[in-house]
Point group: C2
Chain length 217, copies 2
């Protein structure tokens, strides 16, 4: 595998490729060309070939790409199949929704359980997984060498829990708290989901449309 100097843009496109390939596989497609794939995804064939070539040679000239093979290769690149472990920190509505809705627990990740501060939630289960006391969080992370913390607590508790997790040796935080977390120079990976950012971008475009219309009239 080459993987020298892969740009962020490329990395962020990989999951989209993976999703598309899953769809194609589900439809029973066996092969796909960069040309077809490009048309279906709104990308140029060039870009697709260039993207893939960052990681190796997955296609065959004159034939295209084998859907199933390519899918597994990209999965490999993205580190599925590695069994990274995850815990949920904050068993509120959002956290519950995440655990219930997504199969990431089955698909290559090992989900270990949830943590919360509310006495009435501690000891219950979410989708079959236990909800522990947040006071046991540091010990648990240390003991199980947890890779990923899914952070779905209220804003005001975010930084404190981040510090706790950092202390305990977490490797990555999937951050849903709508704040920028400070992890210092710990090297902890943070991936943010800022809902409101996304909504604001949507609204920006709506406003654009409205303004354009107004000017035309």
């Amino acid at each position: 595998m080459k993987r020298t100097n892969v740009s962020n843009n490329v990395i962020r496109r990989l999951p989209r490729y993976l999703r598309k390939l899953d769809d194609l596989a589900a439809k029973g497609e066996e092969r796909i060309s960069s040309d077809k794939l490009g048309r279906q995804m709104g990308l140029t064939p060039s870009q697709i070939r260039q993207d893939f070539s960052c990681f190796g040679e997955f296609g065959q000239q004159g034939y295209g790409y084998n859907v199933d093979f390519l899918r597994r290769e990209i999965g490999q690149i993205l580190g599925t199949y590695r069994g990274y472990s995850a815990i949920l920190v904050g068993a509120g509505n959002l956290g519950t929704a995440l655990v219930q809705n997504f199969d990431f627990i089955i698909e290559g990740y090992v989900f270990l359980g949830a943590f919360d501060i509310k006495p009435e939630v501690i000891g219950t289960q979410i989708d079959g997984f236990p909800v522990y006391d947040v006071r046991d969080l540091p010990g648990f992370v240390r003991e199980h060498k947890v890779d990923i913390a899914i952070l779905t607590v209220p804003r005001h508790a975010a930084q404190e829990l981040t510090d706790t997790l950092a202390q305990a040796g977490i490797r990555a935080i999937w951050n849903f708290t709508n704040t920028e977390l400070d992890v210092g120079d710990s090297g902890i990976l943070v991936e943010n989901i800022h809902f409101s950012d996304s909504l604001l971008v949507l609204t920006y475009h709506l406003a654009q449309q409205d303004d354009k219309e107004k000017n035309e009239v």
Copy 2:
């Protein structure tokens, strides 16, 4: 306002600026320079000045930017304060979490209610807002001229509901279904939140770290 040829990258940075400025305002900061802001956000001062200059001149030489003024300007650009209306389609866990957790209902948006297909949910309330029968969705959208649909239904129902919404004249879809929606040439704006994409990017970096370590040993 200039707003000629604003790149996507710039637009996607705007919400982050807004969030940061809100924080600064909450802390009572009155003024901020591009230099300070850059250091706090991990951006170059140049980029910040360049970004803002796409929309006008918001700063003062020798002084910097007035936090409160800049905040309102960016809010303006992003189309908050315009009172766009929104409905929730799919009153499951995720949808409920969204409505309950976010203040976007108060902050410049008008939330009108939720729609679901399950009889046991229809007629109940989420955070004080009514849950209607999904069969009434088209009529409702048409009648209230709804701007934004927040789509939080299961994967398999996503495209059908998209078609329904399109028919009824929705302007934008905030898509949480983890599928790519096909809106044809309707001009409907779609903003995706693909949870799994984000998680996969995180895992990619974890895998990278692991591989590097292995090579070093």
